[in-house]
Amino acid sequence: MQQAKDLPANPPQTRRPTFSASNLYGYLFVLPILLWLGATILYPLVSAVMLSFQDVGIIGTGGEFVGLENYADVLTSDRFWEAGGRSLVWVFGNAIVQTLLAFITALALKQVFPGQKIARTWIILSWIVPTVVVVVIWRWLLNASGGIINYALVGLGFIESEIGFFSSGNSAVTSVILINSWRWFPFLAVIILAGLQSISDDLYDAAAVDGASTVQQFWHITLPGLQPVLFVLGLVGTLLSFNVFDIIWLLTGGGPSSATTTLPVYIYETAFRKHSLSEAAAMSVVVSLFLLAFAVVFIRYAAPRLEED
């Protein structure tokens, strides 16, 4: 296609770069970022694998080769699997809340109303401010003494006296999921909105003529039209959501009594609080393999089947 055009018809007499020379030139532009990512992702991954076969405690200290001992410890540790279970709850909880909020937001912002342009830009405000600010905002709103949410809930008669949202396990998990969703749903919403805008209005008009209800239109036009976007969000969103560390750590520190200790929090604690670096490295490797398996399965079964270019 494009490439045939670049091939010189005769032995190179023109000044146009040949196909391969042009490619070489192009790769030079891509090379720096690949080297950068190789040095800061690939190389560390290899060294994490090597670290996981040793018994290093604190970084900088030496370690003996211990074979698969760390892996045996990790895979037989209840705490590791419990953290894994919490990560599953975390990922699903966030996915449900964020998808719901993002769809409502995207559908609302797709409508025409005064101030629509401003709304479509500023909706993302909670996503651009630093996590630590998000944490301060919600600690302040949910504060047990004088926090406005407690005040409102008591005033409206939902609860009798102020509650500590982070002091019991279930309410801490729920609160952190809702706060993280608050941070991320606008990001999903603007992407879903862009997906909605890429669906032709003609389809809706035709469906309306045929007497399809709004709900039918949503199921038969909107959702299929959004499939490529939803695929990317399902893959990247799940991984990004799994990754979340700072918001949990700064809100609850993983507590109360480990109720919010998801895998990232557990790995962080193991490496930098318990000072068992090698064990934490082994966990990282195990978790990487699980995530890789998820990504492969997801791409295999959920990838949109249209484009082959």
Binding site: L37, P130, I148, N243, P264, A281, S284
Partner: protein, 275 residues
């Protein structure tokens, strides 16, 4: 477009709900930060401040290390921004202008690296930085932030490049301009909104980063804003006035940047994720 009255009511309710949950918390933080301490800790919250004071801001700037943290964060963010823009813009150019074979593979690798869990790299990167003698330095944070900002920036940039017709380049080539001249004099000015978007993206990513900064920085005078603020949160008796003022000032730079280029930024975010 005509909507029924019921439709209007539903839409207005949704928009009102969004306004309350997205914007109001920010108002609440700022309005609380200018109240006197007694009003801040009062058990009856006041929606409109009954008192007015800059005392928390004064305390923050005069008798805390806030300005130092701010300066550190600025250095990290600007360094991250410059390197990310150079790496990502040239990669996007290479990938999406020159139509390389294998670009889909590179594109997928980039997608995966964007979603790569930072926690899994934290331990080995700590080791790597320690071998390179970069623990407790600003460059260590810049290097890591670029790693996490650059992949998505390539995606965003590609979308902007793809809106520029190829004919413009061909015309310049006919006039005798070389590839570098075309890139610097013609494409970059046209892709300026894209460059601005990825610059802001890199800045925001760097400004918010907490995990690596909390582990790689050891001495107090090199802390970034998120780690510094987290230090105040962690204190037994929280000084809310100070914390709220600190949060408002920490959010301020990104909000200003966003006000300048927000539309393009959101366009870049969505365009990058669309194709």
């Amino acid at each position: 477009m005509q909507r029924s009255i019921a439709g209007n009511v539903v839409l207005a309710t949704c928009l009102m709900f969004l306004f309350v949950i997205v914007i109001l918390p920010f108002y609440w933080i700022f309005s609380s930060s200018i109240k006197i301490p007694q009003e801040i800790i009062s058990l009856t919250p006041t929606l409109v401040p009954q008192s007015f004071t800059w005392q928390h801001y004064g305390k923050l700037l005069n008798s805390s290390d806030f300005l130092l943290y701010l300066w550190n964060s600025l250095q990290v963010a600007l360094g991250t921004m410059v390197i990310t823009v150079v790496l990502s813009a040239s990669a996007a150019y290479g990938l999406y202008r020159l139509k390389l074979p294998g670009r889909n593979l590179v594109f997928q690798i980039i997608l995966i690296t964007y979603a790569f869990p930072g926690i899994l790299l934290l331990i080995p990167l700590y080791g790597m930085m320690s071998r390179m003698g970069l623990i407790d330095t600003i460059p260590a944070l810049i290097i890591i932030n670029v790693t996490f900002a650059a992949p998505f920036a390539v995606w965003m940039m590609r979308a902007f490049f793809s809106t520029i017709p190829v004919e413009i380049e061909d015309a310049a080539a006919l006039d005798g301009a070389n590839r570098l001249q075309i890139l610097l004099r013609i494409l970059f000015p046209l892709a300026a909104p894209g460059v601005a978007s990825i610059a802001i993206f890199a800045f925001i990513m760097s400004w918010t980063e907490y995990m690596f900064a909390s582990v790689l920085i050891i001495s107090d005078e090199r802390r970034t804003l998120p780690v510094g603020l987290a230090g105040i949160i962690g204190q037994y008796q929280v000084d809310w006035g100070l914390l709220l003022a600190g949060s408002a000032l920490t959010a301020f730079p990104v909000i200003i940047l966003f006000a300048l280029v927000g539309r393009n930024f959101v366009r870049g975010l969505t365009a990058g994720a669309m194709k």
